[in-house]
Symmetry: C2
Subunit: 322 residues, 2 copies
């Protein structure tokens, strides 16, 4: 099977037929997309490499899901409505079982978000997946990292923060998880759910947002740096799954604060909109938890449930360091 | 140097400051871009892998140029005006000499086309370069593969069609080029010039277009298939450089017809606009040559200068076959 057959069989046929919104999809030199009047375009690219962003043990269907999920998570963090994506794929060989599973997971998530694969590239080479997502937000309403204000509450979404890191440690053999716990933690790692609905609901409410891909401390740090501010974080307020709660407290804190691969949203909003936030979270079916407050003094200060300061010496995941 | 330092040092600082057109560039979860009223968006992604799209001997500066050039070539083929691009880069290690050269070549071409790097990703892994370009064209004016009409003239741009393949054969050791010829052919392979100005000038004149990345025969074949038509091609009318003309006729034909990596435009247009085409080509500083005609009968028929049919058994470059 050659390159064009591969595209036709695994990718083009599973994409939706051309719509008014996307008059030209896969199959020309470029895709053609109709922007929506009054909207700005939001764009993000993520590249996934075996052994660094996923393990060779991942099921192809979950890999297809995750490759798109981590990109949709960037749109979610900005409050964007997803519109389209491109996929560039380097494969050591044409592996039909892999491609069948990969494309199934990819398109299931794409269809759940009404987003179309509009183009891309396939080539032979070491396994590498690069997706670029495009979305829209009303002019001036994209949520940025730089908008945090003193006094803002800090929130995080979801209930499984840290589980992905716990699964990674289980794969690395540094922790031993009972079967059911491993299954659940692994699902958090391999099947993150991008918080797209929540992100859109945060437009006009949140002052700043980012998605947690490299660990809460590091990613919240990007908000603080971009906003020129600091924060206090109530470490024991972090949402933890039942799986994580069965681990020692030090590991719970490490996974929650510096885990990485969570794809939850961390965002800041003034206390005055707390009730609206709760309603927005409920409407989008996503739990949110208040975990701290923005302060004028730069830096991030960690506190436990007794109000004692913690110095855990944590840093975030860096693709060229760890 | 970590991931964020790398982005800041080699990519963010060399990008232009935010403009009205791109209110948010590198440094947030997404870039934010203001679309131009009345325009459609055009998007294309290309992934470059060592040993397949470039040789390990290429200078980093030329590789940076080429990685963006092959993407701009896709926008050119659709007649789009380039707007922005993302870069995802997987690198075995942080190699400062490589990154300095690569980013210099990349930004020189980006600045020549007034296009901004708005985001992307860097990771450790086997060398892989994925660029996604975004551009605009007035609504309904993008040039597609499917628009060819019976009687259209077939044109190709440039004067070095086939030189890139000649250089590749020299690297492979199947042809022996004298020093100066090798330098020129290698430049064609490593520094293709995307025909962006010509592509925009073709809007409203050309019925169909594609860029020659996999070889003229194969890429013209995509136009014919998408348009449901055929063509006759005057093989000896193909533009050839002085370098290529010094090679045996069989090799000249092979390189010109099935070379690949040319990044010239092949396009079709009615005879009635021939004078306007000539003026558009001159205004954009790009040579164009008439090389054939679109016919109703499907398939591509090759003729030599004496009007004799040729059967050269050529096929195009396929990344999973050759």
């Amino acid at each position: 099977m050659g390159e064009f057959d591969l595209i036709r069989r695994f990718f083009k046929d599973q994409s939706r037929p051309p719509l008014d919104a996307v008059p030209v999809g896969i199959g020309d030199d470029c895709a053609v997309i109709n922007p929506t009047a009054g909207m700005q375009w939001l764009v993000s690219s993520d590249m996934l490499v075996e052994g660094r962003h996923f393990l060779s043990t991942v099921a192809p269907e979950r890999l297809g899901h995750k490759a798109l999920a981590v990109n949709l998570s960037d749109l979610a963090a900005c409050g964007a409505t997803p519109r389209a994506f491109t996929l560039a794929l380097s494969l050591p060989r044409v592996d039909e079982a892999f491609l069948t599973g990969f494309s199934r997971g990819l398109f299931a998530l794409a269809q759940a978000h009404g987003i179309e694969l509009v183009g891309g590239d396939t080539t032979a080479g070491p396994l590498n997946i690069c997706i670029t997502v495009m979305g829209e937000a009303p002019r001036g309403q994209a949520i940025l990292r730089s908008g945090a204000c003193v006094g803002d509450d800090v929130y995080v979404s979801g209930t499984t923060l840290g589980d992905a890191r716990l699964a990674l440690e289980a794969f690395r053999g540094t922790v031993n998880l009972p079967g059911e716990d491993f299954t659940l933690a692994r699902q958090a790692m391999e099947c993150p759910q991008p918080r797209v609905a929540l992100g859109q609901a945060l437009r006009g409410l949140a002052h700043s947002a980012i998605d947690v891909s490299d660990g809460l401390v590091g990613d919240l740090g990007h908000i603080l740096k971009a906003s020129g501010l600091g924060a206090r974080l109530e470490v024991d307020a972090l949402p933890r799954s039942a799986v994580l709660r069965r681990q020692p407290m030090a590991l719970q804190r490490k996974c929650g604060l510096a885990g990485g691969d969570d794809y939850e949203l961390v965002f800041t909003a003034p206390a005055a909109v707390a009730a609206q936030l709760a309603a927005a979270a409920a409407a989008s079916g996503t739990a949110i938890t208040r975990i701290g407050r923005i302060e004028a003094e730069p830096g991030l200060r960690l506190f436990d449930a007794q109000g004692q300061t913690l110095d855990l010496g944590l840093s975030s995941f860096d693709h060229f360091k760890s």
